[in-house]
Symmetry: C2
Subunit: 645 residues, 2 copies
């Protein structure tokens, strides 16, 4: 016994390859904990409970002790693969993090309109904003004081600023007023003044030598439950210079934010939750800044969009009422704060803005989505659906907006799917089942297939259906295709075959059930909103599908599986990450923040859980494409054509 | 030598009576420094240079070493009186601070209208403001959220606040938003909300249990160059509960603020200057709070008025350009800041407001004076003169305001006058020279005479003049009165006589010269402003005289000596400390701050030093009452009457 205690106290070094990050931990520490400690973020969806099987590591050297699991294949066990959450460190270790677990930054979705603002001039059409960033640097030249004109420096500066911008209410931090006179004298009343728009007022954030007027950067951030994405923007030219993404390291504490709120409540871990998400954001900022060779000090602005819980975690607002009836957020509209107050490492006087949220389950990412698709400006009615860890839906036009959130689950983000993964190198992003029953696929970066990302999963679901390998209830049909086999978890379809020299990647019956639940949740939400507003399918002018599916998505397939309403294909638009696109819009045009607030204010939220029609619609939508085939006239022909081949 | 060094290193304890405060200092320390160290504030006008002779102490026990001085009488030397700035500590000491050197707080001028606001109801006349403090506590009761009404807590609170007050732009500190949900839940959505008006916006400063709604106090402060005065106000009832004053402890560094700016520049002592004035204010706050048994935490507001330099010292703004052409302040309008940012010890989220200043030499005390005398609302033209360390003058009506500052010198505050003192117990406040040539006088608190305060000095000047003891040039006339004698410093008039059992109190020729310079400065400033605006004496509807003269002032005498224009006596009003009265007006009525800003903005400043007429007017005003007797028709009869008696 004594020896065992001794061993437990022993310090062990765990080196994680390929990053080389090394954790020093007491013997007996769980490997997932060791990884967390040094910032090696493993996909862990169940929060370390050992049932998601995502946190796989390869033990290269050293001794470990693992609990038995059914989530590893005999082959994996032979190759020393372990689940990090089920394995204890017994000695110094060298472990390898499989590549599919690290996010390939080069593949992160860039918004397609990064130059949207830089080319603007003159009158802007509805919903397009004048380039006028939230935080600007102004070149301010004042006439120095004389005996006849001895207005105090502070008021002289205000007068000069108001010659350039409209700023009826101005504020200046105490520390800036304190150094004001010295700087104005030193630079002969010609300076660069950083001004930020701050909820109806304009703040003088900093005063520097005039030469620094073009050194002004901002970061737009999408705070996803699974992934955090950041774009670096030059505020002088409006050009997006770079982007970067990382896993949300809160993922260790649970797959969805409800689980994380519960964890934080039970473990008094709100500070920990904040420091994780803030740490992720700071890592992104440092990476972007060092790659672009700019000083973090020169980033004056950060604008965040994300679901309501994530915004609460970021600011350490109390999120506990979000999960309890009547589901109330601490704040939907969060006023801009000094970024440093939240621990964000940009200019120490730089500002942190959060886009406004609508409700506990309709976050600012959805407001950003409306803003960037301009739903709120259109005559015709549009649908906006954002498929992430949840599936949020907005319906409306320039006169009204309604919204709802379905707990779709993160299947299309690759979670709860055996070989699901985020859109990174090696992810299967396109799938086609050929007439001979064989499978054609394409991976991101054309590398060896490592898993399946969202667009690939949608393709598979549609292809299995139209090729009659799966029936309308989502059951795989035995013997319908040579690739159907019986796996450890029941019936499965093999996308890749070891005999072709690939790692075997399959889609299981359980995966299909998860994907169908997701698509059914989204469609049911759309139906409830359409019925509540008496909107008919023919009334829809546009359908926008947003989310981290990958770079390209076959919108036809989204209709085929019954996720989106059956409208003319040209009306359906895959719009990618609209959360970050909306954040960037606000960043570059402060008037867009007011618009975002009007959008958030005017959206009517439908609580689906308490809605009498939702469960019925959900059950009907769990068929492919739907129980009511008259809702999907185009699907019949697709399927018939497939049969003919 | 070694022994001497040893002795110097020895620690000595210096106890100051009657306070009992004890300083521990190395042997060799100057007594003034020891006093400063423990917060014993001695009148020291020359800043320790040994020429003002004000910092007298009595050595009761122990050994000291003093430099020779001509400023002590042989009798004082016999009684162990020393000048603290010229005396070194050689051993443990017990010293007594003479009573005239400590401010008697009971005698501090209370403004006459402390209940001005509590009785207000309905429509307010021009220049009188609705009771609506800068910082209020609102009783806010919200309907708790339901599934149908699940507006976030932050927005719910804003809606509820806006039902009570007009607040188009609201802000809330990050720390308050963080605790918002918890507090609202804990108190079932019924709370006391502290809201502050902050430069066009309304800030939610704090949220507490509803029962604390009536616990809300404020402090109004007059930041004088010589004295700092504070009033404690109950913001629920608008009642002034108490007042307190202290010497400005910067006085060690110089009599006027120009000397102090020079000292701070030469010794890099800006932080020291700030910590002194802030320390004085904090001492006043603690004294008031403990005497009234309230928690410092419950003081949510502090409003300061004072000259521009003092406001800069308080906030540690750069004051160095104030003394250099073209005489520019860092800030005239200082935005409200968190009091804690300046080191002021009230509620840690409480706000510090400074009234706006006009120019480097027309501070917010003068704006406060205009605000409280309501010059800016009147049809007729008024003069406002504030006699302190400087003499500031305002002329104007509801349509225009002009102002100027004369470097009058602090003679009427008792500085530069041999037996001058602040208006405290024992100060001679009224003087009458009787027909038989003897002197009748009255002291504050009817105690034994210790010195002469402002109103007494004005009386003496007038009485000497009308009784022909002094000629029109201000020369004492030998043998004109038995009390004329030759003192150490030349001719003097003895107010009190040792043979009557009093300490001898005299007014010297040098004192008279100083007083005449002060009055001449003020009158010359009034004349320049009148001439510049083509205002004739008969156009004047009112003359307001403000300053720390004492409780009562014979306004007739101010005309007799030629300080104020010769208008009908009922038009002259002694208004006391209008700096604190104005600060209190703003405290109790936030709209008054906007008015103060309009006043400051609209005042035209005349720089007397560069004005071609000023020196000429000053020389003419150095006569009693003036070279041009036609300007003072009433004085002739006064003097004639006196002669007749």
């Amino acid at each position: 016994m004594l020896l065992m205690e001794e061993a437990k106290k022993k310090k062990c070094f765990v080196r994680f390859e390929p990053s080389g990050l090394t954790a020093e931990v007491p013997a007996g520490t769980v490997l997932l904990e060791a990884a967390r400690k040094v910032g090696v973020y493993l996909t862990s969806i169940c929060g370390g409970d050992g049932y998601c099987g995502k946190c796989k590591l390869i033990i290269d050297e050293g001794q470990t002790q693992s609990r038995p699991t059914t989530l590893l294949t005999p082959e994996e066990i032979r190759e020393n693969v372990v689940l990090a959450c089920q394995t204890k460190v017994l000695s110094d270790l060298v472990v390898t993090v499989p590549k599919s677990h690290t996010l390939e930054t080069s593949q992160i979705l860039m918004d397609s309109d990064m130059r949207r603002f830089s080319e603007l001039a003159g009158e802007a059409p509805e919903g397009v904003f004048e380039f006028d960033p939230l935080v600007r640097k102004l070149h301010v030249k004042m006439s120095p004081p004389t005996v006849r004109d001895n207005t105090a420096d502070h008021e002289r500066l205000y007068l000069a600023i108001r010659e350039q911008i409209e700023a009826p209410i101005m504020q200046t931090g105490f520390r800036i007023i304190q150094k004001l006179s010295r700087i104005l004298h030193e630079h002969k009343y010609e300076v660069a003044v950083t001004v930020g728009r701050r909820g109806g007022t304009t703040e003088v954030i900093d005063i520097e030598q005039a030469g620094r007027v073009r050194t002004n950067y901002a970061v737009a951030v999408d705070l996803g439950t699974t992934t955090v994405v950041a774009h670096l923007v030059d505020l002088t030219t409006a050009v997006t210079k770079d982007s970067e993404a990382t896993y949300n390291s809160q993922i260790h504490f649970g797959e969805d934010y409800i689980r994380r709120i519960i964890y934080a409540e039970q473990n008094d871990a709100f500070d920990e939750m904040q420091s994780r998400i803030v740490g992720d954001v700071n890592n992104l900022i440092v990476t972007l800044a060092s790659r672009q060779r700019i000083e973090v000090q020169d980033i004056t602005t950060i604008v965040c969009a994300g679901n309501t819980a994530m915004a609460h975690f970021l600011l350490n607002l109390d999120p506990t009422q979000i999960r309890r009836e009547p589901y109330v957020a601490s704040a939907g509209f969060v006023p801009p704060i000094r970024a440093a107050e939240a621990g964000i490492q940009i200019n120490k006087r730089g500002l942190l803005y959060c886009l406004p949220a609508v409700a506990a389950y309709i976050g600012s990412d959805i407001v950003a989505g409306v803003l960037s698709t301009r739903l709120h400006t259109k005559e015709g009615i549009s649908v906006f659906a954002d498929i992430g860890t949840n599936g949020e839906v907005v319906l409306g036009n320039k006169d009204w907006l309604v919204c709802a959130s379905s707990s779709a689950g993160p299947a299309f983000e690759g979670s709860g799917v055996k070989h699901g993964m985020r859109a990174g190198a090696g992810a299967i992003e396109k799938v086609k089942i050929l007439a001979d029953g064989s499978v054609d696929f394409r991976t991101i970066a054309d590398t060896r297939p490592a898993g399946i990302c969202g667009s690939g999963l949608l393709d598979i679901l549609a292809e299995l259906f139209v090729n009659n390998i799966m029936d309308r209830t989502g059951r795989l049909i035995a013997d319908s295709n040579p690739r159907i086999s019986e796996g450890e978890e029941g019936m499965q379809f093999r996308l890749t075959l070891p005999e072709d020299g690939y790692k075997e990647i399959v889609i299981t019956q359980a995966d299909i059930d998860n994907l169908i639940r997701s698509k059914a949740g989204v469609f049911a939400a759309i139906r409830v909103l359409m019925e509540a507003t008496q909107t008919k399918p023919e009334d829809l002018d546009a359908v926008y599908l947003a989310g981290g599916f990958g770079n390209f998505l076959n919108t036809r397939q989204a209709v085929t599986v019954g996720m989106l309403p059956d409208v003319a294909l040209e009306k359906i638009h895959f719009v990618g990450n609209t959360s970050i696109a909306g954040a960037k819009t606000v960043l570059l045009a402060h008037k867009a923040m007011e618009t975002a607030e009007r959008i958030a204010d005017s959206m009517t939220y439908f609580d689906l859980m308490s809605h009498p029609r939702y469960m019925d619609e959900f059950i009907r939508a769990k068929f492919l494409p739907h129980t009511d085939l008259s809702l999907f006239p185009s699907v019949r022909s697709v399927r018939t054509n497939a049969k003919r081949l």
